[in-house]
Amino acid sequence: MREKVLPVLTVVLGILALWYLAAIPMNVREALTAAERAGAVVEGGSATERQQLPALRLVLLNPALALEGAWTQDRPRLPAPHQVAAELWSSVAGQPPGSNRSLLRHAGITLGATLAGFAIGSLAGILLAVGIVHNRAMDLSVMPWAIISQTIPIVALAPMIVVVLNSVGVQGLLPKAVISAYLSFFPVAVGMVKGLRTPDPMQIDLMRTWNASRAQIFWLLRLPASVPYLFASLKVAVAAALVGTIVGELPIQRGGLGARMLAGSYYGQTTQIWAALVMAAVLAAALVWFMGFLERRTLRAMGVPA
């Protein structure tokens, strides 16, 4: 553990340093325009002439002005990390939790839909896997299509699902949950099929010599053997469910992190987009970590050496 901390910290600090550096050429045009308006002398000609020059050249011509304006603008092309952090703090702690401008409320909306979709999707995935393992016809007919459907950009269906469910009167959480359920369904189904098939013929034969029924083989052998596979695919599925919810929120526009990103892109509020993005990242990390936590607890309770 200790030998990981230092390299990871170095890499993270390196990324932050790169980020700050990249903000200088990214924001140089707006910084120079603002400085010119404030009365400073800007090298590189008039505003229209500056349009022709590459950003790096402008930085070299006006190093002081570029540095000064790079990390303090209201609507930068690339906000500096501390600006994102400030926006995150003000929209999480600076707003009442129920207000429409509170990022916590939007994160809550996204989290609710993600969990609902994840629950529906993984339950359906487990049931399909059980069917596939026990029924040869289902295995041969459904499995190829399940694999093909993985290669289809399912997320593209999101706007249509939302509109269709709206027109039959289903609103609120469910349309988004349907999309995230669809995305989390296949990882779980594929992983569970693999897991339920891990017991080798010898183990199954042993169960048969004990005169175990099919149901007993399932509950006592196949299901316990599939638990590690289940958790591995649940981790993939919960991340996919979050992506599905965020994409599903784009056409709905009733709150949520996806709606927040789209609103930010409409009004040029870059810092708001970045804050929503960081929030989504935190949410994803928390969900995956929680699945890992459940995995460790369950496996330890089952006596699997960690």
Partner: protein, 281 residues
């Protein structure tokens, strides 16, 4: 009503047929193995068609497959333009750049152990993040054209590919590397003759994940702004006009492109990693 009953009968008949085909060792022939999923697929399409007609579902909710096929055939020119814009320009160029960048990064990471220990956890973390969310920012930076879509795709495919490539490069035993050293092989010779071939199964696995992500990235990025062309644009605009047959046609374009790319990667994998246990039958 008769159509609905017909659909039900057809479903049960196909179910029975597939059940019969897979019983008693008949499923060992490769013909049956190909036939069973085909029967299932056509049955689903037929039941869909019959139910939509029998229950008179309005086309604004669920168009019948025949209607989607008609629209698809009637607007191939339009859809071809969308295909070129989104798949060829956006997704594939982004996929190529992202994969190349990830491979270079993987070799760097592999050479410096400090970098590996630092970058790999970060890479695993980034691979789980909803990177699609970066799309509005990329559209703001690179404009509405295909460049912004390619940029989203690059970011989406980079980390899964990096993680797989690094894992693949680690997949040689100390004995094998020692053998290369006794032959006096240099780092690059060991890389070329031992470690890259050993990493190929991982690389193809990463490539498969990356190719599906590339399609998703290119299409979703178009929801944030695009020229009046592209699969994502077509879906969003046809959806707004409640022309669901057009939406389904555009999705069909994405599906065909996605499975074709996936199929090509699988064939290449079979040709290149024929020695790997997972490819031997």
């Amino acid at each position: 009503m008769t159509l609905v009953i017909l659909a039900l009968v057809l479903w049960l008949a196909a179910w029975g047929l597939n059940g019969w085909l897979t019983r008693g060792g008949r499923d060992r022939s490769s013909l049956v193995r190909a036939l069973v999923p085909l029967i299932f697929g056509t049955t689903v399409l037929a039941v869909w068609e019959l139910l939509v007609r029998g229950l008179a579902v309005p086309p604004a909710i669920l168009p019948a497959p025949s209607r989607i096929a008609q629209t698809f055939v009637a607007s191939t020119g339009l859809l071809w333009g969308d295909f070129v814009q989104t798949i060829l320009k956006g997704a594939l160029s982004g996929l190529a750049i992202g994969v190349a960048a990830a491979l270079i990064a993987a070799i760097l990471v592999d050479r410096f152990d400090f970098l590996r220990r630092g970058l790999l956890p970060v890479g695993h973390f980034m691979a789980a993040l909803p990177i699609v969310g970066i799309a509005p920012i990329m559209v703001m930076w690179f404009g509405f054209g295909w460049q912004s879509k390619a940029a989203v795709v690059v970011l989406m495919v980079f980390f899964p590919m990096l993680v797989n490539a690094v894992a693949g490069l680690q997949d040689t035993t100390a004995q094998q590397r020692d053998l290369m050293r006794t032959y006096g092989a240099s780092y690059w010779q060991t890389l070329r003759m031992l470690r890259v071939p050993a990493a190929l199964p991982f690389l193809f696995n990463g490539l498969k994940i990356a190719s599906t992500l590339a399609m998703i990235g290119a299409i979703v990025a178009e929801f944030f702004g695009s020229p009046t062309q592209g699969v994502g644009f077509r879906i969003a605009s046809a959806n707004g006009a409640l022309r669901l047959d057009m939406v389904w046609s555009a999705i069909l374009v994405g599906a065909l492109a996605g499975s074709t790319v996936y199929g090509i990667i699988t064939l290449a994998e079979r040709a290149v990693t024929f020695w790997h246990p997972s490819q031997r039958t």
